[in-house]
């Protein structure tokens, strides 16, 4: 089980200070009994997640649909009130801020959504859309100067300044995603949560946007939390990667270590299931096939949440909730058999 990462590579940029630390974050949703009867239930969308991101780095976040990636991002963005745990951004615990402090933080943490169609207001021009956050946050108080800044932002993301007068429906999907990126940049953030920023785009446009995000990161020294399904794209863009399964972190480490030597059986299965775009290779590739169904967050399995699908599970896995242990420097895994 190894993914070729065998050519020498430049080491990741000298790591900056820790910009964000998520400590034991939990977010539970309470569902009323309601529609189909039955007792009220709790969805443990995020269940004890911890990780940190250094300034200027990209942390990839992957995992099955519904494993809690978006909810984690929304807690960091203060769009959800966490049930427990801490979100420490630039040294301050966001769960304990005053409203005035929250305003400042809102400006520093921005988001790029998956769906460029529904995340833009159809009745605002692109220019108004970019102007608004700057006005609200008082970033460029003078109106004229803001117009210049709008044109500059459009240029930075590879659009024509004249697009300021257009409406979202007049743009293509890729162009709308560029507007979404420009809007995130408008408040001069230091951290951007990219929640599947390329999943809704054509394959031929995805590479354009990934390159743009990388160029902007260099230019403005941005930090990214990059949520995605596509493990090849995540490998391309991330410095480190966290793999989630059912509300928990299964494994987190450097990109190189994760792809070359994944330790958690779920990560191993994920990587071995990624099809390689080459029929020659695919025709004699051995894969690790997982049985079973991804369980529901409403009724998670006992012990290790992965045990019903795990090829190396033993009796203890049904009982013991594995803690996330550092098995090598910087490589943390939640599995009692590792």
């Amino acid at each position: 089980m190894s993914v070729a990462e065998n050519l020498p590579e430049a080491p990741p940029q000298a790591a900056g200070d820790v910009i964000l630390e998520v400590r034991d974050l939990t977010k539970h949703f309470h569902l009323g009994g309601g529609l189909f009867g039955g007792p009220p239930a709790v969805v443990k969308a995020v269940d004890g997640v911890s990780f940190s991101i250094r300034r200027g780095e990209t942390l990839g976040l992957v995992g099955e649909s519904g494993c809690g990636k978006t909810t984690t991002g929304r807690c960091i963005l203060l769009l959800e009130q966490p049930t427990g745990g801490q979100v420490i951004f630039e040294g301050k615990d966001l769960t304990k801020l005053s409203p005035a402090e929250i305003r400042v933080v809102r400006r520093k943490i921005q988001v790029i959504f998956q769906d460029p169609y529904s995340s833009l207001n159809p009745r605002m021009t692109i220019g108004q859309m970019l102007d608004e956050p700057m006005a609200v946050h008082g970033i460029v108080p003078e109106r004229r100067a803001r117009q210049d800044r709008v044109r500059e932002l459009l240029t930075v993301v590879g659009l024509l300044p004249s697009m300021a007068s257009r409406y979202p429906h007049e743009l293509s999907g890729g162009q709308r995603q560029r507007v979404g990126i420009a809007r995130a940049l408008a408040t001069e953030p230091s951290l951007i949560i990219c929640d599947e920023p390329v999943s809704a785009l054509d394959v031929s446009i995805q590479a354009q946007i990934v390159n743009l995000l990388e160029n902007l990161q260099e230019q403005f020294h941005l930090t990214y939390l990059f949520v995605a399904h596509d493990l090849s794209v995540v490998r391309h863009i991330s410095d480190r990667v966290a793999v989630m399964y059912l509300g928990k972190v299964a494994e987190i480490t450097d990109r190189t270590a994760l792809y070359a030597e994944p330790l958690h059986p779920y990560t191993q299965a994920l990587l071995s299931a990624v099809p390689i775009p080459d029929p020659e290779i695919e025709s004699h590739r051995q894969r690790m096939v997982l049985g079973g169904e991804v369980p529901s967050a409403l009724n998670p399995p006992s012990g290790c949440v992965f045990h019903p699908r795990c090829p190396i599970a033993i009796e203890d896995c049904k009982r013991i909730v594995p803690e996330v242990r550092e098995v090598r420097p910087g490589h943390r895994v939640a599995c009692i058999r590792v």
Binding site: M1, S2, V3, A4, E5, N6, L7, E9, G63, E64, S65, G66, S172, G173, G174, Q175, D202, V203, S204, I205, Q206, A207, Q208, V210, N211, E214, H229, L231, S232, V233, R235, H236, R255, Y259, A269, L270, L271, S272, A273, V274, P275, I276, P277, D278, P279, E280, I281, E282, R285, Q286, R287, V289, L290, G291, E293, V294, S296, R309
Partner: protein, 343 residues
């Protein structure tokens, strides 16, 4: 016209499907020909909006009317031109001989019918099964798609199934009447790759076991490489390249195919500093340029490309490309030695 191989199951010839919209006529499928042989898996790949789903819907006789209309061509299936059949005759074929797995499972499952009823109904209508026989068949096909405990599952409703299970349920319904051909439209989009592999392995198994033919519509080039025998690459309503999967990946002869293959990062190759995207934007089908629809984005375009539509012609045996400079294109980026392959 290419001659028809003896085991050709579906033969689509010069299909044209249009939509009347407020911006003008959209030629969603613009003179497309392709075929599927018994037991084979054929892939249809291409940009969003290039006409893949509309191609499949045209075969099923399900193009949204009145805006949409098949305006030309023939669809030969087991000796009959489907475009000449009545709605009643099509209803017998749909589900029974050709089954479709739709792009979004939740919209094509009936939320108020039990899972069991959605399978047994088709078996009773199409195969003339008694309720008991139909029930047994339903349990059996759920087993095929890896949903255990079928008897209990049949009493549930679609919303009680997870996303991956609904996808499999769609495939179970498609299989239930033993169709000759399954049209699967993005059957695994948005699923975890481990579930994706489970579902596609299953479809491949069934074609080995029962000779079912599959048409897989996808934009995932990895999926195509793993599962397809032959590939049709579409761009703006037309097929721009086709061939065996090996021909297309090892020796792409259309700049769009080449661009797609070069733009995706690959787990088996070293990380690149930057990706190598196709420049420009996907085309607006109501305002296509006069010559080759790819010309505005094409790095290899010559004057002729902007004036004349390139025909689909052979670049070696059955490998075809619609490009004026097909013979002088470079290969897929030189790869750094034969690499160690992920196990």
């Amino acid at each position: 016209m290419t001659d028809v191989a003896a085991d050709t199951l579906l033969d689509v010839r010069d299909l044209r499907t249009e939509f009347a919209t407020s911006h003008g006529v959209v030629r969603a499928v613009d003179g497309v020909s392709w075929d599927v042989r018994a037991g084979e898996t054929v892939a249809l790949v291409g940009e969003s909006g290039c006409g893949k789903s509309v191609s499949a819907l045209s075969i099923m006789g399900l193009v949204a009317r009145p805006a949409g209309r098949v305006v030309g061509g023939e669809i030969w299936f087991k000796g009959r031109d489907l475009l000449k059949l009545s709605e009643d005759e099509m209803r017998d074929i749909r589900g029974r001989e050709i089954a479709m797995v739709f792009q979004e499972p939740m919209t094509s499952l009936n939320p108020v019918l039990t899972v069991g009823r959605q399978i047994t109904e088709a078996c009773e209508i199409h195969l003339g099964y008694t309720p008991t026989q139909a029930h047994a068949r339903a349990v059996e096909v759920l087993g095929f798609v890896g949903i255990p405990d079928g008897a209990r599952r049949l009493k549930q409703y679609p919303h009680q199934f997870s996303g991956g299970m609904r996808q499999r349920l769609m495939i179970a319904i498609a299989l239930s009447c033993r169709p000759d051909l399954i049209l699967a439209d993005e059957p695994t989009t948005a699923l975890d790759v481990t579930i994706q592999a489970q579902i596609l392995d299953l479809m491949k198994d069934l074609s080995r076991q029962f000779g079912t033919a599959n048409l897989i519509i996808t934009h995932n080039l990895g999926v195509v490489a793993r599962y397809a025998d032959r590939v049709n690459v579409m761009y703006a309503g037309k097929i721009v390249e086709r061939g065996t999967a090996r021909e297309i990946y090892a020796n792409p002869r259309h700049p769009y195919t080449l661009g797609l293959l070069r733009s995706v990062p690959r787990l088996d190759e070293p990380k690149r500093a930057r990706l190598d995207p196709i420049q420009g934007q996907p085309p607006d089908l109501t305002r296509l340029p006069p010559g080759c629809a790819f010309a505005p984005r094409c790095a290899f375009a010559i004057d002729r490309c902007r004036a004349e539509v390139p025909p689909l012609t052979s670049v070696g045996g059955a490998h075809q490309s619609a490009c004026w400079v097909a013979d002088s294109l470079p290969g897929v980026a030189a790869k750094p030695v034969a690499e160690q392959v992920p196990a």
